[in-house]
């Protein structure tokens, strides 16, 4: 795994949790599409990396998964956020805000369009 993917992995969890919180149960492809839609120009998501991240989050108990029928009536695995996942989301959101504020202060940037993408 290269440096870029590593950085992505930490934020990926935040993005997935946020997506599931906002949209309710989704299959992996739906999560990937949603993340790409919202962050189209900013994030280059390697969709495959989503699945190890989903596995890890499920092991941590932040999300739960269930096999069900997709919109086109095909078998798909649906992920949903758990109570522990919501707590984790709150925590990671705070961490992320604190981190980005710190870095923005450090660089002397005005909080601009970048800040909106997290929330």
């Amino acid at each position: 795994m290269n440096d870029k993917a590593d950085v992505l992995q930490g934020t990926l969890i935040l993005l997935v949790l946020r997506t599931l919180e906002a949209l309710g149960p989704l299959h992996g492809y739906g999560i990937a599409r949603r993340i790409e839609q919202i962050s189209k120009e900013l994030l280059q998501l390697n969709q495959g990396t989503l699945y190890p991240a989903l596995l890890r989050m499920e092991q941590e108990g932040w999300i739960a998964s269930k096999w069900g029928a997709s919109e086109k009536n095909r078998k798909a695995r649906f992920y949903s956020i758990t109570a522990a996942g919501r707590r984790q989301l709150t925590k990671e959101t705070e961490d992320w805000r604190r981190m980005s504020t710190t870095i923005e202060l450090f660089l002397g940037f005005e909080p601009g369009s970048l800040a909106e993408e997290g929330g």
Binding site: R33, G48, Y51, R56, E58, Q59, G61, K75
Partner: protein, 267 residues
């Protein structure tokens, strides 16, 4: 708590290896097919749609590798894989397997033999009382490159009376001895010992007695014989006590029999 749930999940992963692998395949296939459909709807031709879908998904095998590593304890699973691979390889080349096993067997055998010897010689305590407190005293003279040399009895007496580090000091001096018997002359191994040696080692004759200091002072010619010598020459008879042996041409009286477990070479 978090690490505990992760460990539990991974333990499950270890058991449910096959099912989880199949589920991942299914999930990935679903993902890619959905992407292809969307690409088709966006107006791509089938080949393009498929290619674009694969590209946006990224490397499939590296992802699966990461997934597997995370699913369970990578080390355990990798070890099991290595083991299976090893067994398969060995089965494929029996000649090599036999050679390897034979080499291992020889090596283990050699080690065992070596250890048995060392165990007997170095590790097993001496069969004497307070064996851990026994020390061997030698005279040394580095200028003459003399090591483990013999000491004069007079020196030993001085050490014995002046030393405070040792409970007692006794001497033995292994000497080759000529025994003259009815069948002729033969050479045997004997040792001249100080009267306190046997009490110091906690050894009691099985029959008869040991020397006393008075007898040593009077330079009486008294001997104790080994258990084996007793059995061989006297058939284990009590008559051995008081019998006479001619050693180095001098008549010596047998006063005791050493126990069977007394080493014939005391050092």
């Amino acid at each position: 708590m978090s690490w505990a749930t992760v460990v539990a999940a991974r333990l499950r992963g270890l058991v449910e290896h096959k099912r989880l692998e199949r589920e991942l395949d299914e999930e990935v296939r679903f993902h890619v097919e959905m992407q292809i459909e969307d690409n088709l709807n966006a107006g791509m031709n089938p080949a393009e749609a498929r290619y674009a879908a694969m590209r946006s998904f990224g490397g499939l095998e590296p992802m699966k590798e990461t997934y597997r590593e995370q699913r369970t304890f990578a080390l355990v699973e990798a070890m099991a894989q290595d083991l299976r691979y090893g067994v398969r390889t060995l089965r494929k080349s029996p000649g090599f397997t036999i050679t390897a096993v034979a080499v291992l067997a020889l090596a283990i055998g050699a080690n065992t033999a070596m250890f048995s010897v060392l165990n007997g010689v170095l590790f097993r305590p001496l069969p004497y009382q307070s064996a851990e407190q026994l020390a061997m005293l030698w005279a040394e003279d580095p200028t003459q490159n003399l090591r483990e040399g013999r000491s004069a009895l007079w020196d030993v007496e001085q050490w014995r009376s002046q030393s405070q580090s040792f409970a007692d000091m006794a001497t033995f001096d292994a000497v080759s001895t000529v025994l003259t018997g009815a069948d002729g002359v033969e050479q045997i191994v004997g040792a001249s010992i100080s009267p306190n040696l046997l009490p110091l080692l906690g050894v009691r004759p099985v029959l008869g007695r040991s020397f006393s200091s008075e007898e040593a002072g009077q330079r009486q010619r008294l001997v104790l014989i080994s258990h084996r010598f007793w059995q061989a020459r006297f058939g284990g008879s009590r008559d051995a006590l008081g019998a006479t042996l001619v050693l180095n041409g001098l008549a010596c009286q047998i006063i005791g029999i050493l126990p069977a477990d007394f080493p014939e070479r005391p050092a």
